[in-house]
């Protein structure tokens, strides 16, 4: 149950950064035309004349006790309604990118481990190294130039149909596909050297059963951890890609929120994101237990002794 301390920690850090950085909300709300009097009045209304810790405590009190994340300064609507609108889009893009990364990365990684030193191994490995080194933003831009602007296969911006998801999915998922490829490869190489793989062969197991059943199930354990970590990174990394492809998701909202000093909006989004990420870590732990009987035994034993 690490969710609570993690979320609290993250919220404090973000709150502090927003407080330290120059600029105040009132100036942003009023624009350049506002007089010093008006600015002071609004800052007082929003509580910005209070010391930092008091502000943070008030914010937490409202968020936790009243379950009120406040009102966005830019949109004048509740933060929660904005998040509810945009989160599903970000979530969809993240899941798509993650699925793409796993569907491409893991099988190719397994294959290159099985065919170690052959072309099937070297080509993907070199490509993976390349992809891992390329910044997501640049890759997204190149993809957009080629497929959206040059070939016009997919729309370049916005979310209109399924086609709009293709480019962000690939652009966002590609580096993670590369990472999972490398992980699956090394995990698999480690696994196929194990004695129980030889035992399986000694029973007369066909090669595809040896690889995809005996070996992969064992090799999957470390890969799942990476998928979980990737989820958080992709959700976070969506900021760049969402901005690039003008996707109305949570990421692009956080970016404008920061620019506009829309503190409630940024805080609310970050808190929701960190809760989701902590939750994913929990799910990964559960998945782990599902695959590895040794870990499952630990869980059930604990439950038994607790009961």
């Amino acid at each position: 149950m690490l969710i609570i301390p993690i979320t609290l920690g993250v919220s404090f850090i973000v709150f502090a950064i927003l407080a330290i950085t120059p600029g105040d909300p009132a100036t942003m709300i009023l624009g350049i035309g506002g007089t010093q009097e008006e600015i002071d009045r609004i800052n007082r209304e929003l509580g910005y004349d209070q010391p930092f810790l008091k502000r943070y405590a008030d914010y937490l009190y409202k968020a936790i006790v009243k379950q009120d994340l406040g009102t966005s300064y830019q949109f004048k609507t509740t933060v929660w309604s904005n998040i509810r609108q945009r989160l599903p889009i970000s979530f969809k893009v993240t899941i798509l990118a993650l699925s793409f990364a796993s569907a491409v990365g893991i099988p190719i990684g397994v294959l290159s481990a099985v065919k170690q030193y052959s072309l099937l191994d070297t080509i993907p490995t070199i490509m993976a190294l390349f992809l891992a080194a390329i910044p997501t933003f640049w890759l997204g831009m190149m993809l957009m130039l080629l497929f959206c602007l040059e070939l016009r296969w997919f729309p370049a911006t916005g979310i209109s149909s399924w086609k709009s998801y293709v480019m962000p999915t690939i652009g966002l998922g590609m580096p993670y596909a590369a990472q999972q490829l490398r992980f699956a490869r090394s995990s698999m190489l480690e696994t196929i050297r194990q004695d129980y793989i030889r035992t399986a062969r000694a029973k007369g197991a066909p090669e595809n059963i040896v690889i995809w059943k005996h070996a992969l199930k064992n090799a999957l354990l470390p890969i799942i951890t990476i998928i979980g970590v990737n989820f958080s990174l992709i959700l976070g990394g969506a900021v760049a890609t969402e901005t690039l492809f003008s996707i109305p998701g949570l990421g692009s909202m956080v970016v404008t929120g920061i620019k506009m000093k829309d503190i409630p909006m940024v805080m609310g989004s970050i808190i929701v994101l960190s809760i989701i990420c902590s939750f994913v870590i929990l799910v990964v732990d559960l998945l782990y237990a599902l695959i590895d009987p040794r870990i499952k035994a630990k869980y059930t034993k604990r439950r038994r002794s607790a009961a």
Binding site: Y196, R198, G204, H214, A297
Partner: protein, 335 residues
Amino acid sequence: MTETILEVKDLEVQYKTELETVYAVNGISFRLNEGETLGIVGETGAGKTTTALSVLRLLPERVSFIPKGEIYFQGQNLLEMKENELRKIRGEKIAMIFQDPMTSLNPVMTVGEQILEALIFHRAEKAEKAELEKRVDEVLTMVGIAADRKADYPHQFSGGMKQRVVIAMALACEPELLIADEPTTALDVTIQAQVLLMIRNLRDRLKTAMIMITHDLGIVAQTCDNVAVMYAGELIESGTAEDIFCAEKHHPYTEGLFGSIPSLRVYTERLNPIAGLMPDPTERNPGCKFAPRCPKVMAICRSSHPEDAVENTHRIKCHLYSDGITDPRKEEERL
């Protein structure tokens, strides 16, 4: 029943790594008849496991090479067989019990699944799933494990029980040849005897031919019809159990092996191991492999490789017996 089931002819196996070549097996030949048991004894690193794995063609890919030799199983050369033909033999006709039971079971599959799998690979066309399940219960009971434990995972078993599972898996398809690679080395002394007794009983009941690999001469004496003593990738002495345990003349290495067994009658301060180490397997010297450690070493031993001296079933690879094992003259001259 004296039909030959397995014949190995002049087998050589090498492991090649980027840095060096390990000459693990250097021209060994032996023959095993149906229903009989051959014991292969030797120190660690002698090449016993390598020999066993070559028979199943399970040597690690890419690093291992078989530059020379033939392995006939029921008349077919295993070294020329294709992978899919080999698959039909592995598990079904030749099964292997591996050295380390702790690592030879898949940790994420139940033991039942793992035994069932062996049956599915070879019996799926002939039998219903339910029949195969019943067979799993049967073999588990046979090795002394309650059938209702088949849903458990390997980590829930003790070392001895894991080895029993491995044995159950090997015997599931009633193989014609069972290769047991030090089946008891990794086990507790008290369990060793149990497991060994069980293997012997099962072998007698199923009339399986067996290769028993061990470095324990006691085990050999209890289980084997024939014995081969392996040293640095060569069979330096072989023969029937009688030849090895009762004959007068032996290879000095075999004598050393006997000397290293603690005796109940003679009080010894400590074990009596043969002094020195096995030669570096990455080097090939012209002389006898045992010469550097041999208490009876002669000048010729360092320069020329000895041939087998043969008397009936008894073979000794040693210059001491270059005029025949029965001839005592040589011995006297030397003294």
